[in-house]
């Protein structure tokens, strides 16, 4: 027999149980959020050092001194890894997903709260381990976020490839385990804990995006985990999975017969789904916000769901587009190319549906909306370069140039970050019970939008002009020196953009304590999180179990009293 729900409405007492090892998905969501916030500042600081080094390679920086070329590669590796794993994977899914998925489906918590706590703390350990790589002998690894073998597999290959690389791989493996636990929890929660009436086709698109992301995570992280274990074995046990016969500094190493391409296949089989893991939640939150602030139902709800499902599905079949230059058979390159361009179709469907949602809407240009529109803009400008890269003939020219860097920064770097910003400005009132400052928010938005375009758009031109990626210094390469003025411009743009992020941090913490009190539903939105108190009680709905009678985006319904119908409003004849 079940106990009355009210018994469980009490939050556990004591600081540790409540805020450190909490089982409450909301606290865990915030823990993920603040972990990602810390990580993003670390990652941003590293990128600042890189930008400085690129144009002033001999500058002597306070405390750090002159950045050496190999240090540049360490910065590059750590920047990419921290950003991809501990920011873009952590904040949208672990942070906002944890906080809002249970509430939006009307559940009191995640399906397995203890597992949820474990997955956060495992992620945290992963972060600590990767940060340690900076401080061990030899420093952080040089092999980039993609960790290509044989560089990553040979401790003797460079200073950072010693203990630092082992820590890097270990951290990734820990992160994989944490993400797998998280994905399992998300899937079970979505499938099993929806409130009465919350049919699949009534779930907010945010829930769909977290759900599909969890499926991708469940299938992708296991592959990265095994790839990482093979790499650790190559490094420490003398096996030859990835390492062919190699000579380092005139010494023939004991390895023989392995294939660096094996690593690339395994890595990108994970890597391409991973980029969708980073962006899908942003798509979800963008859909949610565009509909809410346009006061219109989302255009083509079902199409949006099917588009996300097909993006997730196709995402597993295109990994070869990262390997066109690896000497793969032209036939497989052709197949990968066609499949990759197929992803453009659902992506375009989503874009047109977003535009259709805004079309003729009574748009409220508040900060969350600005960020959602910014997301669409960046998704288009970053996505359009994808089909170019997806053609093997073009990729021969563009691979390993700044063109690729521009592509993935616009779409993954910045668009996904805009998704996180949009989510922060949108859900802040629910999470902290106060409003963020609109003026600061808009200021932050416009500087960040202009700044990121100024940094990442020129990269495309640099790439077309043949500027190589992952080089620490261009001053020595004759044909590349002409491009340095553009690089200088990008560095100045980076200074401004990074400075603008402090506006966000100030706004965040100031509003947390001093912002005006928020009502329960400040945006007049329809989904379940806006029906409960602000911030939500321990069991989310204060002992009540919500019943859902409506779809998630019923705005501007003819005949309704207000211009929106909450999901829990009584069913009427006008709507189903």
């Amino acid at each position: 027999m079940a106990t009355p729900a009210s018994v469980h409405a009490h939050a556990p007492q004591g600081f540790i149980r409540r805020y450190i090892f909490s089982l409450d998905h909301k606290v865990i969501g915030l823990q993920y959020f603040f972990l990602a916030l810390t990580a993003v500042f670390v990652g941003m600081f590293l990128s600042l050092l890189m930008r400085i080094h690129l144009i002033w390679p001999t500058a002597v920086l306070p405390l750090i001194g002159t950045i050496q070329p190999e240090t540049y590669l360490s910065l590059l590796t750590m920047h990419g890894t921290i950003m991809v794993f501990f920011v873009l994977t952590t904040a949208p899914q672990g942070g906002f997903g944890n906080y809002f998925l249970p509430i939006q489906i009307g559940a009191p918590d995640m399906a397995f709260p203890v597992l949820n706590m474990l997955s956060f703390w495992t992620t945290f350990v992963g972060f600590v381990v990767i940060i340690c790589a900076f401080f061990v002998t030899g420093g952080a690894p040089l092999h980039g976020w993609t960790g290509y073998a044989p560089l990553s597999a040979l401790p003797s290959a460079g200073p950072g490839e010693q203990l630092g690389a082992d820590l890097w791989i270990t951290s990734i493996a820990i992160f994989c385990i944490a993400s797998l636990m998280g994905a399992l929890n998300f899937l079970t929660t979505t499938l099993d804990m929806r409130a009465k009436g919350m049919t699949l086709m009534r779930m907010p698109l945010t829930v769909w995006s977290w759900f599909i992301t969890a499926i991708l995570g469940l299938l992708a992280f296991g592959v990265l985990l095994s790839a990482g274990i093979l790499l650790l074995m190559d490094r420490n046990l003398g096996t030859s999975f990835y390492v062919p016969l190699v000579v380092v500094n005139g010494v023939v190493l004991g390895h023989k017969g392995g294939s660096p391409l094996l690593w690339q296949h395994l890595f990108w089989f994970f890597g391409h789904p991973e980029v969708y893991i980073a962006i899908l939640p942003g798509m979800g939150v963008t859909s949610q916000i565009l509909s809410t602030f346009s006061r219109k139902p989302i255009f083509g709800y079902r199409a949006m769901v099917y588009a996300m499902l097909s993006i997730g599905f196709l995402g597993f079949m295109v990994w070869g587009h990262h390997m066109f230059m690896s000497g793969m058979s032209p036939y497989s390159a052709f197949a990968f190319s066609i499949l990759t361009m197929c992803i453009g179709v659902p992506s375009a469907i989503k874009t047109f549906n977003w535009l259709g949602t805004m079309y003729k809407g009574r748009i409220r240009f508040q900060t969350p909306m600005l960020y959602a529109i910014g997301f669409v803009s960046l998704f288009v400008s970053g996505g359009l370069s994808g089909p170019f890269l997806a053609q093997p003939v073009l990729d021969i020219q563009l691979h390993d140039t700044y063109f690729v860097v521009g592509h993935f920064h616009l779409i993954m770097g910045v668009a996904a970050i805009f998704g996180i910003f949009a989510a922060t400005y949108y859900w802040f009132p629910k999470m902290f019970g106060r409003m963020m400052n609109e003026t600061l928010g808009k200021l932050h938005f416009f500087i960040t939008l202009a700044g990121t375009y100024a940094i990442f758009m020129p990269m495309h031109y640099l790439g077309m002009a043949g500027q190589t990626r992952r080089y620490s210094q261009f001053t020595e390469v004759a044909y590349q020196t002409k491009l340095i003025p553009l690089q200088t411009f990008m560095t100045y743009a980076a200074f401004v953009t990074i400075a603008a992020q402090f506006i966000f941090v100030i706004n965040l913490f100031w509003s947390m304590f001093k912002g005006p009190k928020a009502s329960d539903n400040p945006w007049e939105a329809t989904t379940l999180e806006w029906t409960t108190a602000t911030p939500p009680p321990h069991d989310n709905f204060g002992g009540v179990t919500p019943v859902v009678n409506h779809g998630p985006y019923e705005y501007g319904v003819p005949g309704a009293a207000r211009d929106y119908v909450m999901q829990t409003d009584p069913a009427t004849a006008a709507t189903h």
Partner: protein, 249 residues
């Protein structure tokens, strides 16, 4: 499970306009009919939820072993340049598996899967009868007489010990993890499987201690149930690994 959870509606959280509250729980498709939604879901709902989680977990384990298998297939087919003969050769190599020992281990694991199934059914029965037993004066005889769970734990540990012996035997025959690619995969796959099985043994030990610590019979039943399915999966996985190592040499 026809029970439902009576929830105590607290009026007006956030927006008004609340419809009258029907009984709590329930998803859209009838699967959530027994209080899936209340603070303390009942035993049927928790069992279903745990099984769902297990299926997700097994999907991951599958992906791990699928990727290891494909790595093995790729590595096995790779030619490597041989300076001595100035040509490409296959360096896959040979491993003399301790066949008899591995066959015995396989048998032990398969038998343990059967005993595990008996333990699972026993736990299910106990959980179903628990309410009856709690009525004073009702006795159903000593149901728990046969320690299926203990036997399974014993067999599981025996299997792990047997694998340990097999690794020792491989070492004795001169095959180490870095001897050749074939032996690397032999150790990799068997150890990966053993690590997964260890997880099952720990879960069973937890379930056994839960019965000693007089935890509620339902909680124990859920652990036993999902561990049982996990255990069967591990048995099948072992047969697969063994076949792969044995037949695709």
């Amino acid at each position: 499970m026809a029970t439902y959870t009576p929830s105590t509606p607290i009026d007006h959280i956030g927006h008004g306009h609340k419809p009258p509250m029907p009984p709590a729980g329930g998803g859209d498709d009838g699967r959530g009919g027994d209080g899936a939604n209340s603070g303390a879901p009942n035993y049927g709902a928790r069992l279903r939820r745990a099984r769902l989680g297990l299926i997700c977990g097994l999907a991951t384990v599958c992906m791990v072993f699928i990727s290891l298998t494909s790595a093995r297939i790729v590595r096995r087919g790779l030619p490597t340049f041989d300076g001595a003969s100035n040509s490409y050769v296959r360096d896959w190599g040979r491993v003399d598996l301790p066949w008899l020992l591995l066959a015995i281990n396989t048998a032990v694991l398969l038998v343990s899967s059967v005993t595990m199934e008996f333990a699972r059914r026993q736990a299910a029965r106990e959980a179903a009868l628990a309410p009856v037993k709690s009525i004073p004066g009702v006795s159903l005889g000593d149901e728990r007489s046969f320690p299926w769970l203990g036997i399974t734990v014993f067999l599981g540990i025996s299997f792990l010990a047997g694998q340990w012996l097999a690794w020792g035997e491989l070492h004795a025959r001169g095959f180490f993890v870095d001897t050749n690619p074939n032996s690397s995969f032999v150790f990799l796959l068997t150890i990966a499987h053993a690590v997964h099985l260890c997880g099952g043994v720990i879960a069973l030990l937890w379930a056994a201690s839960a019965s000693l610590l007089r935890k509620p019979v339902e909680a124990r039943r859920i652990v036993v149930d999902i561990t049982a399915w996990y255990w069967h999966f591990m048995a099948v996985l072992w047969v697969y690994v063994f076949a792969l190592l044995g037949f695709a040499r």
